[in-house]
């Protein structure tokens, strides 16, 4: 009876599922017997143990984290400002919609090549992350502004809310869920696009360059190790950003309701 209850817990199920697939992976690697084709989990741990104590490992992580996070933040700020401008002014909307649609439709590799022609490869992951996230933030924030509650706007008008109370009490809490949803999608995309760009442009000292080197030397253990690092960075960044947004949302509630 006790064991059934323990197995019902989600984290136990997750742990068991992860252990199962790691075992499948390990067995498959052993059966294949070729570490170039498929490195085993043990090989990946060994690769991490070799890389983690080196300065170069952390420098590469720092390089890519700084650039991809910067790209995301630029897109979040710029996308919000542009969406607000487009919502307030029809001419701004007419002017901004075509380039935003173009950014959304153009393949990411075209932008990567263009950035490499125009600028140094150190700009690559910042620019590409920003370009991939910008249309998502723009579209969601614009939708959020468009769907503002007209009834609450009337309430504010009748009661004569100050501009500040309208902003903090009605407008911002109304738009924030749309912004958060965009961030949820954009955070993962920023990492995928940013690292892909680094693999193509090979900026010195980036995670992308390390991935490329792993491919060049057929070091599959390193490849898997760097992939795991990317997933971990993306996960941590997402948790951090969404946690900050959630805390901000809670502070809006607390502002009027102690």
């Amino acid at each position: 009876m006790t064991s059934t209850t323990a197995l019902d817990k989600p984290w136990v199920r997750g742990l068991v599922a992860a252990a199962f697939w790691l075992a499948v992976w390990q067995v498959a690697a052993l059966l294949l017997g070729n570490t170039v084709l498929l490195a085993s989990p043990v090989d990946v741990v060994a690769a991490f143990a070799a890389l983690a104590p080196t300065w170069g490992f952390w420098a590469s992580v720092g390089y890519s984290v700084a650039r991809i996070a910067s790209g995301f933040l630029i897109a979040a700020c710029l996308g919000t400002v542009l969406a607000w401008a487009a919502s307030l002014n029809r001419w701004a909307q007419a002017l901004l919609s075509p380039p935003i649609r173009a950014i959304r439709s153009v393949p990411v590799v075209s932008f990567i090549i263009l950035v490499l022609i125009w600028a140094d490869s150190s700009w690559l992951s910042v620019t590409i992350s920003a370009l991939m996230v910008l249309p998502i933030i723009f579209a969601n924030v614009e939708e959020g502004i468009g769907r503002r509650d007209a009834a609450l706007a009337e309430l504010a008008q009748v009661f004569g809310f100050s501009r500040s109370r309208r902003w903090w009490g009605i407008t911002l809490p109304g738009v924030l869920p749309y912004f958060t949803a965009a961030c949820r999608v954009g955070l993962g995309l920023a990492w995928k696009a940013g690292v892909s760009a680094e693999v193509i442009g090979l900026p010195d000292g980036s995670i992308g360059e390390r991935l490329y080197q792993a491919k060049l030397y057929l070091a599959t253990g390193d490849l898997f190790c760097w992939t795991a690092v990317i997933v971990a960075c993306s996960f941590a960044f997402e948790k951090l950003a969404l946690g900050a947004l959630s805390a901000f949302e809670s502070s809006l509630t607390r502002g009027y309701a102690k």
């Binding site: 009834a151 309430l155 509630t253």
Partner: protein, 186 residues
């Protein structure tokens, strides 16, 4: 004083109000569904412009809307505080919540978690606490249980004081209680 002079209004080509006239400090508005009661209240609140005639009403207004129009993520305290001109401490708001019969456990919960009757009580406190000159109430006692109705009506009358009021209601007891100038639409 609320003064309506030959007021007309329509949504598109469909006329809703035609040549409505009244002058009162306490105006009670009745009529069948779709007769334009809420529309008239919106005209008095300045949310709509009449297509004909004039509407005159005090500048500082507050209201209980037909739909609650509470800010869902805020607590009962938050919804009153945000509507109050300037800053207000918890004490006076808590006293109003007690007076209107809102249970203490509901004061600090987001209003989306409250029952219909509790939400209505928050709306009433919000409308009656600020220092408005005109209070517009659109079916304000919807969702209030029968046992509390008399006490809540008394609360509204007490807090209203000498202020002007426009009340939309279907209930004859409300009309009898508030002794206003009656305006029947439709």
């Amino acid at each position: 004083m609320i003064a309506l002079s030959e007021v007309s209004f329509g949504y598109g080509d469909a006329p809703v109000l035609r040549d409505v006239a009244a002058q009162a400090s306490v105006l009670t508005i009745t009529g069948p569904n779709g007769s334009g009661k809420t529309t008239l209240l919106k005209l008095i609140l300045g949310l709509l412009e009449p297509s004909g005639g004039t509407v005159s009403a005090p500048a500082r207004k507050s209201a209980v809307f037909q739909d609650d129009r509470l800010i869902q993520h805020l607590t009962a305290f938050g919804n009153v505080r945000i509507a109050y001109p300037g800053k207000v401490a918890n004490g006076p708001i808590a006293a109003e919540f007690e007076a209107v019969g809102l249970a203490e456990e509901a004061w600090r919960r987001p209003v989306r978690e409250l029952s219909g009757g509790q939400r209505r009580r928050v709306c009433l406190v919000r409308a009656l606490l600020p220092n408005s000159e005109l209070v517009c109430l659109d079916e304000p006692f919807t969702g209030i249980d029968a046992e509390s109705l008399s006490a809540v009506r008394t609360y509204v009358r007490d807090r209203l004081g000498a202020r002007d009021m426009a009340l939309v209601t279907h209930n004859d007891d409300d009309l009898a209680f508030f002794h206003g100038t009656r305006l029947r639409l439709g």
